[in-house]
Symmetry: C2
Subunit: 419 residues, 2 copies
């Protein structure tokens, strides 16, 4: 019998199936209301527009759309993105943009060009599960930095950096990974002051900042905050964008904005990784942007998700029991909010009870490189219908109430047995 373990790379041995993605399978039980995945609302997909545009592209330039394309991506699409980026407060050029096979590939390529095994990446606590997977696949050490409602705590970030330098790891400190806008999973937004302080730390300790901002265009309230790449004075920010949340994840399209020298290196890594991103979906997306469909689509999504967010927040307010330590975030955009349970609760136990009541979420541990955050979980509000959001939160509230009762009874029971 062949022993594959002996042949695997060190990084491969560390690869595990994401537990969150395994849990998502449970949520496919019929009748379940799922707040678990991070899926966009399929009812909003602009199917008719995609059909029109695809027919047009195949007629007009089928021979190009079906052929290989340049690793750098379709220049026309990048020109459209230069325009789109301006609306988001980013002045850039075609040469500073690389088209990728969505944000997860961007994370993979960035990890590949910066990380040797055991190098350090500073992440938010909690952070995006796909970031954890990408960095883990290169054997990185991830340091989860304490965060509050305004983002990562700069003093905590700096203290962590200093400790590692003292331990002799200064050559191994590489990346700060931040999801500054309506963070996945916590729904928080990094304030402008924090952004500046993080950049200041990055500059002083010579680190690269990965600004992962898939939801930036989906703000429902409050004021837009300047992107970190725009605040950066020393060419050390790489920003990751995607069409997955504002157009269609099925196209697997995203883009990276960054300093030319870094984009050049990422292009080389991409050439070895997949030659090029689909010219077919790039051509369609170019035409879609050129016709001004994207802005309209973003407005449609914004309106719908804002209503869903409001429905989830009002349902939480209405149905959740009043417990000390039970709270949730109030995101100004994006797809997620974060629930903190009282410390004596375990979101994994609650998950099983919630599944019994036919409602699902993702446990907090999934979003921590060392599987901490035991008494918290993530709720998604983009996928379910508004009616289901109300019903699902009601079920979830009941699960929490029952769990609380059980804990109380157990405590009481315990005190009888061991008086």
């Amino acid at each position: 019998m062949i022993n594959y373990e002996k042949l695997f790379s060190k990084n491969a041995i560390g690869l595990k199936r994401s537990e969150i993605r395994e849990l998502l399978k449970v949520t496919r039980i019929p009748g379940i209301i799922s707040f678990a995945g991070g899926l966009p609302a399929p009812d909003l997909f602009p199917i008719e527009e995609v059909k029109d545009v695809t027919d047009y592209i195949l007629e007009k330039e089928g021979k190009i759309a079906l052929q290989y394309g340049p690793t750098e991506g379709d220049t026309r699409l990048k020109e459209e993105l230069v325009r789109h980026m301006k609306d988001e407060g980013i002045e850039t050029t075609v040469d500073n943009i690389l088209i990728v096979s969505a944000s997860q590939q961007a994370l993979d390529l960035v990890a590949k060009i910066f990380l040797n095994r055991k190098d350090f990446v500073f992440v938010e606590e909690p952070t995006y599960v796909g970031g954890i997977q990408a960095f883990n696949s290169y054997g990185a050490n991830m340091v989860a930095v304490k965060s509050d409602k305004d983002g990562i705590l700069p003093e905590s970030l700096e203290a962590n950096i200093k400790t590692l330098i003292d331990k002799g790891f200064s050559d191994k400190l590489k990346l700060i990974y931040i999801i500054p806008d309506f963070q996945n999973p916590a729904g928080i937004t990094t304030s402008e002051e924090r952004r500046k302080r993080i950049l200041d730390i990055a500059e002083r300790y010579d680190l690269i900042v990965i600004e992962d901002t898939p939801y930036r265009q989906l703000r429902y309230s409050g004021n837009s905050i300047t992107p970190m790449i725009t605040l950066d004075n020393s060419d050390r920010v790489i920003s990751l964008f995607t069409f997955s949340k504002i157009f269609a994840p099925g196209f697997r399209l995203g883009w990276i904005v960054g300093p030319k020298e870094l984009i050049e290196k990422i292009i080389m890594a991409k050439q070895a990784a997949d030659l090029c991103t689909s010219p077919f979906t790039q051509s369609i997306t170019y035409e879609y942007l050129k016709r001004g469909y994207l802005e309209k689509q973003i407005n449609i999504i914004r309106k719908d998700y804002m209503e869903k967010r409001d429905k989830m927040l009002s349902s939480l307010e209405k149905f959740m029991p009043k417990l000390e330590g039970l709270s949730w975030t109030h995101p100004e955009g994006g797809l997620f909010l974060w629930v903190n349970l009282p410390e004596y609760m375990d979101s994994r136990e609650l998950f099983l009870k919630a599944i019994d009541k036919k409602v699902a979420f993702v446990i907090g541990e999934a979003f921590h490189p060392q599987a901490k955050c035991k008494n918290s979980f993530r709720l998604n509000f983009s996928y379910a219908t508004k009616e289901n959001i109300e019903e699902g939160i009601k079920r979830l509230a009941n699960a929490i109430k029952e769990y609380e009762e059980e804990i109380k009874n157990k405590k009481f029971g315990d005190s009888v047995v061991f008086p």
Copy 2:
């Protein structure tokens, strides 16, 4: 000024832009006849069928095609591939197949799960440039093993392995990378006897065999040879297939066939690398296969490329000067043939002369991990029209004749100065 070099990973420092891909840019000069790229003939793309199928998919299941999909790939597409694989002599199951973003991603993922820095990969001499890039991006040591018209020389492979074991590298020997059918770049096919002997060596020295076979379905003469994965008795072969040459490269779709345990590990690596391959292009391709379009398309391509191969071979016969050491391969399928020049010639010098005459190829060095093969080059016969193939070979023959004259005159000149 930020010093990125200090922050790059060791693997990233070793990343270089592929020279072949840079040379390809020169070949875009107007009027040039290019035998350089490896592009399929765009005139054969089944644009009408793609349009029909895409419209159908968007109408019928747009909400699924535009959404995220499973990392493993579309099960329906994999079922179609189980059927298709049977025609190619491979009995397999859905669980032994993984859909990937074309063969280059397969190479990247395979490299990722097996290779630590400085691990060894045995490759053919010459070998595929994308394989070199993928293995290089993980810091691998590549050993080019002497090959002849029947493929890699088993005794040379084994001698290389023994030398490395003697040097204490036995733990670092990992992969044998073979393109057995109508190899890119040399156009040769590994004989069944060689396949068996390579597998025997792999088994005795506990190595994994990567069978990369993007052209297998494109045979124009001779008899089909059993795939290595079918000859394998010890679960150590991974076979890579792609839709790029038999359908459309613009879809970026390929598939891996292998032992379940390895497919499982590659799925984990893929999840971290890009979450999933486009459900949109997968749905379209599933429907395309289901309607039986693929077999028809393969027949169309086979007929056209066979005629082009024949045209290139007859033009070479007709126009090339009779020089000792000048020879070329006679591929039974695929997209490429390989020209050996007399030893005193340098294909890089010839390349410049050829460009002057408005004909292009790829120099042999591009296909060697240590840039050897100085007096050889690759010709592609799928992309140019038949008329252009004849004209292009005529120009190439003239370039060689002129180059030969120049060398002779130089020699003569030399002999005058230094009698």
